[in-house]
Symmetry: C2
């Protein structure tokens, strides 16, 4: 292992040196050096090339890509996020990238077009081969966020009355024109979907059997279905692809595992960013300009700071209590912190469960009832410990205040933390947004009120 | 859309009713009612059945699964997490599940075995068909967390000198015995991997061509490679499968997209749980007992509460300052909250980038330099706003204290938040653990020190 890691590190360092070299040589444009660099780049695996481009800004990334041959350029380009692809297209110019644009799947092309400035998008669309243009427009015809937007409309026409031999002959001819020949939709002549078969199934059957004998009830989605929800049930089935139909059950495309995976990954990145109170970057961190990082954070930070003014307000209200017992202020960060942590724990768990489809909106009562109990157990455990510690150091009354505050704050925070993401989803907001940061702020303010009310009554202030 | 949602809701309600019915009838065991229920369950799609089992505890889930036919049982069982599978096996008994165990892929079986009590695991292994037993032991022979543990050792033997027709004939015979016939490793007679081809490629070639003419340089992994790191570069390539080799480059198995996806999803769930300061549940939320939820949270919560004692300590040190200017305590939650949020933003972004492989350990200096600048911009923006507000309400000196504290706290928090996940990774800890909660606690204590030092010097206390 140690030896492998060392080798890996050496390899990685040479890659960094290579990128610097590419940038330097591009500046000089010495043809000999360029050829040499090109040869070095040819030694690298595609996965390393992808990593190189993802770890540098778009201009440098474009310089590296310009040195790749056609097939490798396409393989790298294909693996980038649509946002990042758009940056590269703009860095290289639409003319230089037109030929690669033609090679993308219609669904990938549609997503790249969404990210390009209208002018460039139009130019690139105009230069497309008519068939590809049609396929792209089919995909663009569906709303953003629907399955239709992520499907490939390039599907074979296989009818149930075909013999296996007929079907295999057809597939051999059109193998390069359709999205996949491994998962095969079977349709009636009006394009109504009747079932699904696979190349494996046809390939191992008797040539004289009909396709109709070899089909299963299809797992399928409607083109207008929400893509994220569809991915949630599609991915656990471990299927390569499934047919997509319109509202009259007519086949319109195929939805494949790789697009499903991209959707899920983007959603996970979004959830992760939002639960940390920032907007998703939609491009790799190191290739994002510093000001774009600031933009992704400033709004949330400001909103949270403004809502934190609530805590100033609460404390202002209890200022006389604080003046009488300054010792109370010592526990403020501990109590608000513990409340925030308990709330975050619940919110994070529920947000993830919503994302995986394990929990749904109408489960809110069940979730809250679970969290009340979880919060009570957690609060009691911490409350007893807090009571004993505070009693020992600051005396019995403070011990009672701290202990009972912890019980109540934990119970409240867990319950609110569990409910918030579901409420957010119900009102159409992103559950992750309403999870951690907002819950922290809310629990801070509510926790302080609980704290001072208990303190006032116990200490008789 | 509205109509679809209503239909969906009605459908969902009837599913809940169905599960209740299954539980009730299982209690009664009236054969007629059972048959009726079985028929109702047969109407449901596999994805709905999976959802039913995932949303209920293992005992109830097992009751539902007992009513399914063999193929559907297997489809549902296959889609569950290994942990959840183990719960179901224990609920149904090892005898009842032995036949399904036989049908799992060797890699899925190995993971299920890891989750079962040793006794049951042994019983189930003993009952296995000898070939399947061998394949399972091959997988179990690799360390947990390596690619070998997730590969299928069931691969075809295809040699470069085979003609396409010979290869296709072989594949037709062994189609059901190997993991996949779509992505095909090609080996020498000593099993050294020479390349990869695909069924599509063979299928569209001339029958008299040799396989050797149709191979590409393989994308492959070593069986001892770290599975999570491998998945990071494998998934963006959108491949169905890739060969896995041993240290002498001999083919030992195939690694497929569905296992890759499971690994990634589990890692994302882990990151999400840890960034919310809890341990991953490894089973769906609603099927997790309340005490298991408590267990997943109590340790982190206690550790964080203990580290928050640091803030009590800090405030205790500055108690005399606080007594002289109680107004300072009003801003404690606002300042610590903002510091925590800034730190979280940076930590979440960097943790996600580490998970996606966009950032690596040796990028730490670059990341910190970016975060210093981001934090300074954010801090300046908030600091100016804070200065103006505090000046207006509490006078110029307090305005200066709040404004300059915000600038310093934001800069420090962003830098620490960006560095912590990378440091965690370097010392072999989970970056997500060291991200949000710990950073919040750290920023709270450090922020308070900054605050009171500034306050003391500005207010001359």
């Amino acid at each position: 292992m140690a030896a492998t890691n060392a080798a890996h590190a050496a390899h990685a360092t040479s890659i960094d040196a290579l990128v610097k070299e590419v940038t330097r040589v591009n500046g000089n444009a010495d043809p000999e050096e360029l050829t040499q660099l090109q040869e070095q780049l040819e030694q690298l695996r595609i996965s390393d090339l992808i990593r190189i481009v993802e770890r540098t800004n778009a201009n440098r990334g474009a310089m590296v890509m310009r040195l790749l041959n056609r097939a490798r350029f396409l393989a790298v380009f294909d693996a980038l996020d649509p946002n990042h692809q758009a940056d590269i297209v703009q860095a290289l110019g639409s003319e230089a990238t037109a030929e690669y644009f033609d090679q993308l799947g219609p669904e990938d092309r549609a997503q790249l077009l969404d990210e390009l400035p209208a002018e460039i998008a139009e130019e690139m669309l105009l230069a497309l081969d008519p068939d590809e243009k049609d396929a792209t427009f089919t995909v663009l015809g569906y709303e953003k966020g629907t399955v239709g937007r992520y499907m490939s409309p390039e599907v074979p026409d296989i009818y149930p009355e075909y013999t296996v031999d007929e079907a295999l002959t057809l597939l051999r001819e059109i193998a390069d024109e359709v999205e996949t020949i491994y998962t095969l939709p079977v349709v009636e002549h009006d394009r109504k979907l009747v079932g699904v078969t696979s190349l494996k199934r046809l390939f191992t059957a008797q040539g004289s059997q009909t396709v109709g004998e070899l089909i299963d009830d299809p797992v399928f989605a409607y083109a207008t279905d929400d893509a994220e929800e569809t991915v949630r049930w599609f991915l656990p089935l471990d299927l390569l692809a499934m047919p997509v139909v319109d509202e009259s059950d007519r086949l319109v495309g195929m939805f494949t595992f790789d697009d499903a995976h991209d959707i899920q990954e983007r959603e996970d990145s979004e959830d992760s960013a939002r639960s940390g109170a920032s907007e998703p970057l939609n491009r790799p961190y190191l290739s994002t300009p510093v000001l774009a990082l600031v933009r992704s954070r400033i709004v949330w930070l400001a909103v949270l700071a403004v809502s934190a003014l609530l805590t100033v307000q609460v404390l202002d209200t209890f200022e006389s209590t604080l003046e009488k017992a300054v010792v109370l202020s010592l526990f403020i960060p501990l109590l608000t912190g513990t409340g925030g942590n308990t709330g975050n724990q619940a919110a994070t768990t529920v947000t993830r469960s919503l994302a995986l489809g394990d929990v749904r909106r109408r489960d809110i009562a069940q979730v809250m009832w679970r969290e009340v109990r979880v919060g009570l157990v957690l609060g009691t455990a911490l409350g007893v410990a807090g009571f004993l510690l505070a009693w020992a150091v600051y005396g019995l009354p403070i011990g009672i205040v701290i202990g009972s505050t912890l019980v109540l704050v934990c119970t409240m925070s867990a319950t609110v933390g569990g409910a918030m993401p579901i409420i957010a989803k119900t009102v159409g907001a992103d559950p992750a947004v309403f999870s951690n940061p907002f819950i922290t702020t809310f629990c801070d303010a509510a926790g302080l009120i609980i704290y001072f009310l208990i303190a006032k009554s116990v200490l008789g202030l």
